[in-house]
């Protein structure tokens, strides 16, 4: 009945083969799972490293920026202080200029002929530099020039002109070669 057993032999082999295959597959799956776990562990570790590095870099940058901002704030405070001092000087000069203008704008006393006019003490006010038609004392001309120069310098400073621009105008317009005194009074001493 060997013929009858043959199928039974084949079936055993097949079962053995299936069992072997299943074992191998199980081993492969286990190996794959172990490999995957290892990859995941590595990835997590690497991510933690990256995160730590990124945090450190962010902290470093933030620290640098905070430091920069502190320097900027210090610088701005310094500038603000300087501006305030300059504004106070300008305010004082403007006050003087206003007094000059107001004293010049006040209604003049009635016009008198002859010596009486000369006896009236004139308040300082703006006057043309040269006037061939009207007699004018040298001292009076210098006073008017000084007032005009000071007002010009003040107005230019208020309008944002630089020290050099004002100095040039004073030199060209009023022939003032050394304008430092006026400029120092308005803008403060020049920094060297």
């Amino acid at each position: 009945m060997s013929r009858a057993r043959k199928p039974s032999d084949g079936s055993d082999k097949q079962r053995a083969l299936r069992a072997d295959t299943a074992e191998r597959l199980e081993a492969i799956v286990e190996a794959a799972e172990r490999a995957a776990e290892s990859v995941i562990d590595d990835a997590e570790a690497q991510a933690r490293r990256y995160l730590a590095q990124a945090r450190a870099e962010a902290d470093r940058l933030a620290e640098g920026r905070i430091s920069g901002l502190e320097e900027l704030i210090d610088s701005l405070l310094g500038q603000a202080l300087s501006l305030r001092q300059e504004a106070e000087r300008l305010q004082a000069t403007l006050g003087e200029a206003k007094s000059l203008i107001e004293s010049g704008a006040a209604p003049a006393p009635p016009r008198q002929e002859g010596p009486a006019e000369a006896e009236q003490p004139e308040p300082p006010r703006l006057r043309a530099v040269s006037d061939g038609e009207e007699p004018q004392g040298e001292g009076e001309g210098r006073r008017s020039d000084a007032a005009g120069a000071r007002l010009l310098a003040t107005q230019m400073a208020v309008s944002g002109s630089s020290r050099e621009e004002i100095e040039l105008r004073l030199r060209n317009r009023f022939e003032i070669e050394d304008a430092d005194a006026i400029l120092d009074a308005i803008l403060g001493p020049e920094e060297h």
């Binding site: 010049g104 703006l126 043309a128 530099v129 006037d131 005009g148 007002l151 010009l152 002109s161």
Partner: protein
């Protein structure tokens, strides 16, 4: 149907003008349809470099985004209520104008000529308070203060037009920059001396500091007011917010307009404290003046212009522009301050022909007299714009000086 005119083109616009508009202008044959910064485009798409800015109006450049935004936002919120009520932009602009100049009060108008009307009223009423029964206003020949009857009377060149007479009495003119004649003209009846710091329409002629000082002193002697017409020179045009800031005088009253609205009509008369309370309720008024849209636009303009960096740029670029122009063949001199420049042409060169040629070449300038070009570019141009303008003017002058 939209209220905005459709693109009808130059030919039809000219035909409509011929039929419907009073013949008060001689327009150049260009139909501008768009502007941006220093550039203009006509209906055919041709591009122009604008060195006129609508006679010093669009000083911040055409359609400046901040001005456009201010106008849009205000127009969407509130456009007009009249001066019977308060509006915030008007109050804020008054503060800004006063604080940046003479420190007194402000009267708003719709134009420069209306600002002059206010200044003339202030001067006359101020004189009446001094006991002057027939007050007189002294100005310089060549000055241009406007075309309403008051401002016209103070504009000697136009006041001589007898066909428009009789003129308003109480005005006198002396030769420009003649300090002696000015002193002689000012007396007890003088209400004010009215001066352009730089004569614009006459061809860009700066008023000398001698004349300004003489005017200041003469006014002080009799108690008259010194009025400076800063309609063209103001709002940064000369490199300071107000032109007087670069002179040794300070006025009692100043007028401003043109660039103040960046393209939106607005003017203002600003006083020093000493003249701030002269006008009282009933003395003056205007329905539209100081409206929210115009004052919002002006606040945006001042945000741009009242900037030391920009004003320095105007002074430096003005000098750079003049340096380039002075080197050109056919230019006899340059005059002015900042970016208000008069270009004197050598004898024999017709400025009108040069102006028309420059328009063909794509540069917009003005020709105030037969020997002068007037340049009023946007304050925001750069040296490339200046170079391009100088090159175009040079090419044009070369073509004309050879004829």
């Amino acid at each position: 149907m939209s209220g905005v005119a459709a693109g009808i083109g130059l030919a039809e616009a000219r035909a409509l003008e011929e039929r419907y508009l009073m013949r008060t202008y001689r327009r150049a044959p260009v139909d501008f349809v768009r502007g941006e910064g220093a550039l203009l485009w006509d209906a055919d798409g041709k591009r122009y470099l604008d060195f006129l800015t609508g006679i010093s109006v669009c000083s911040v450049g055409h359609c400046h985004p901040e001005v456009v935004r201010a106008v849009q936002e205000q127009a969407e919120r509130l456009m007009h209520v009249s001066n019977l009520f308060y509006t915030e932009p008007m109050a804020q602009l008054a503060q800004r104008l006063s604080d940046s100049s003479l420190g007194g009060r402000v009267f708003f108008s719709n134009s420069g000529t209306e600002a002059m009307e206010c200044a003339i009223k202030v001067a006359r009423k101020h004189a009446h308070r001094r006991g002057v029964s027939a007050p007189e206003i002294v100005s310089f020949e060549g000055d241009f203060h406007g075309r309403s009857y008051g401002a016209l009377a103070a504009t000697p060149g136009l006041a001589a037009n007898e066909a428009l007479g009789p003129m308003l009495p109480g005005f006198r003119a002396v030769p420009h920059n003649d300090a002696t004649a000015l002193r002689e003209a000012v007396g007890e009846d003088t209400a004010a001396v009215l001066i352009e710091p730089i004569q614009g329409e006459a061809g860009v002629w700066p008023t000398s500091e001698e004349a300004l000082l003489a005017a200041r002193e003469a006014c002080d002697e009799v108690g008259a007011l010194l009025i400076l017409d800063e309609i063209q020179t103001g709002v940064g045009r000369t490199g300071s917010l107000w032109a007087y800031e670069q002179t040794p005088v300070r006025p009692d009253v100043l007028t401003t307009a043109k660039a103040l609205g960046g393209g939106v009509p607005i003017g203002a008369c600003v006083t020093a404290p000493s003249a701030a309370d002269v006008l009282e309720p009933g003395d003056h008024g205007s329905t539209f003046a100081g409206g929210p849209v115009a004052t919002a636009a002006a606040l945006a303009v001042l945000d741009v212009v009242d900037d030391p960096v920009l004003l320095r740029h105007v002074r430096e670029l003005g000098a750079y522009l003049c340096q380039g122009l002075d080197a050109l063949e056919g230019v006899s001199e340059t005059r002015g301050r900042g970016l208000m420049v008069g270009v004197g042409l050598e004898e024999g060169i017709d400025a009108a022909a040069v102006g028309a040629d420059l328009l063909e070449r794509g540069l917009v300038v003005n020709v105030p007299r037969s020997d002068t070009l007037r340049l009023l570019p946007p304050l925001v141009i750069d040296s490339d714009h200046a170079d391009r303008a100088v090159n175009l003017i040079g090419e044009s002058l070369l073509a004309f000086s050879g004829r």
